[in-house]
Structures are given as structure tokens and as C-alpha cells.
Symmetry: C2
Subunit: 131 residues, 2 copies
């Protein structure tokens, strides 16, 4: 397996990360996603990491890069399904996933994206500082 | 990684199979799915196999078992994203995935499930013979 599948769900793309990311896989995911955003006109990308038990600085950088590329292509990225233990470790390591939005699960991530796509008073821009 | 994540999307559950299935993984997926169907009351299960380049008789049996368990729990199973080459090989091998519905992609699979859940004249039961 050298490709992570990207599923189109309405205006969103969904990626479930299940395997250990290595350099080449991360790069091909980034390329594939950029291509799919361009070809489908997707407005949002959901990345499910519920099966990851470790999120280190490499994965953090991959997620931030994907979010950056998506943003340039006019799509928002939401990382969903982070395990509580992963969140604790991230904070302890001082990794704050800059520029990456998060949501508890896919459903909430979709709600978040819909709110961002059709801004209303309830959907304020809650992205953190970029740095 | 010893669990395949199961994502809840409205009334459906979505599973993306990305790794080689071995006995234990297939069994735990079946158990997890049965539990999630019972706890969420899901009416449909979508299994994406777009990253599988080989579907042998073992995988075929796993898919048929999952469909069987889901059916007993009042949920329909749709296998989506099969690669054309996989479909050709399946037919050549005489594996017809009995009792398993298929759809081209996740979106069509969801349409199929919605049609099955709310039967109307356009959505006839097109499940093949069980044997």
C-alpha cells in the first residue's frame, strides 16, 4: 500500500490515516490531496487520525503542510478523531498543530466545515494563531 | 495498528480498508462493527476497498461475513471503490461476493443505502441471490 485513499463526500474530501506515515507516503498524500481538491473543487478536507496512537512532530508538520496547501487551494482542513492521550502528549510536547483546526469526530468536523463555508453569527473563525 | 477505525456519518458507518487483512484484524473488525451498529443504531455500513489491489477468497469471505452480521442487526452493507482490475480478477476467479452489494464510490453507496432505507418505486431490492 503506497497510497492513502481519499474519499469524496459531497463538498468534502475524507482521509483516514491508519498506517505509520513515512516521508514518501506523506508526500504522496499531500500531492494526491492537492490534485483531488483541484479536480473536484472540494471546499473542505477531513483527516481522521483516530487510529494513530502517536502524533510526533513529523506528523504534526505533515498535517500543517496539508492544511497550508489546502488553504491556498481554497479548502479548509479539519483534523478529527484525535485520541485523548494523543492530545495530552501533544500539549506536553509543546506541539500545538498551528493552523490546523480540530474536531471531535467526522460529524462535528463536517458541521465545522459547513459553518466555515456558510458563515453565520454562530460560526466565528476560531483558527488559532499561525505561529 | 490492530484496529481499523469505524467512522460514523449520520445513519451510516464508514470503514476504509487500507491494510492487508489477516485473521485477527478481520475478526476484530467484525466484532467492532457489530458493536458499533448496536450502539449507534446505524442502518448502513459502507466498506471502502479502493486501496486494495487484491481481493482473494479470504477477503471475500470477510466481506460476506460482515454483510451477514450487519443484516441480522438490521443494517445494510455496501462495498464501495473496488478497482476495475479487482472486479475483473474476482469474476475470473469465480468469486461473486454473494450477499454483498457494491457501488462505485462512497457517494453512490450512500445513495444506494438511502434508497434501501426509504423504499420507493425507484429503489427496488436488487440484492442478488444469496448462494
Amino acid at each position: 500500500m503506497d497510497r492513502i485513499p481519499i474519499l469524496k463526500m459531497g463538498p468534502f474530501l475524507l482521509v483516514t490515516i491508519q498506517v505509520d506515515m513515512h516521508d514518501r507516503l506523506a508526500l504522496s498524500l499531500q500531492d494526491d490531496l492537492a490534485e483531488r481538491i483541484a479536480s473536484t473543487g472540494a471546499r473542505g478536507v477531513l483527516i481522521d487520525i483516530s487510529s494513530l496512537e502517536i502524533v510526533d512532530s513529523f506528523i504534526g508538520r505533515v498535517l500543517a503542510n496539508i492544511a497550508g496547501v489546502s488553504r491556498v487551494l481554497d479548502a479548509q482542513t479539519v483534523v478529527v478523531g484525535m485520541q485523548p492521550a494523543v492530545a495530552i502528549t501533544l500539549v506536553e510536547l509543546g506541539l500545538s498543530l498551528p493552523g490546523v483546526r480540530t474536531a471531535l469526530n467526522v460529524e462535528r468536523g463536517m458541521e465545522l466545515l459547513r459553518g466555515v463555508m456558510e458563515p453565520d453569527p454562530d460560526a466565528v473563525d476560531d483558527a488559532g494563531p499561525e505561529g
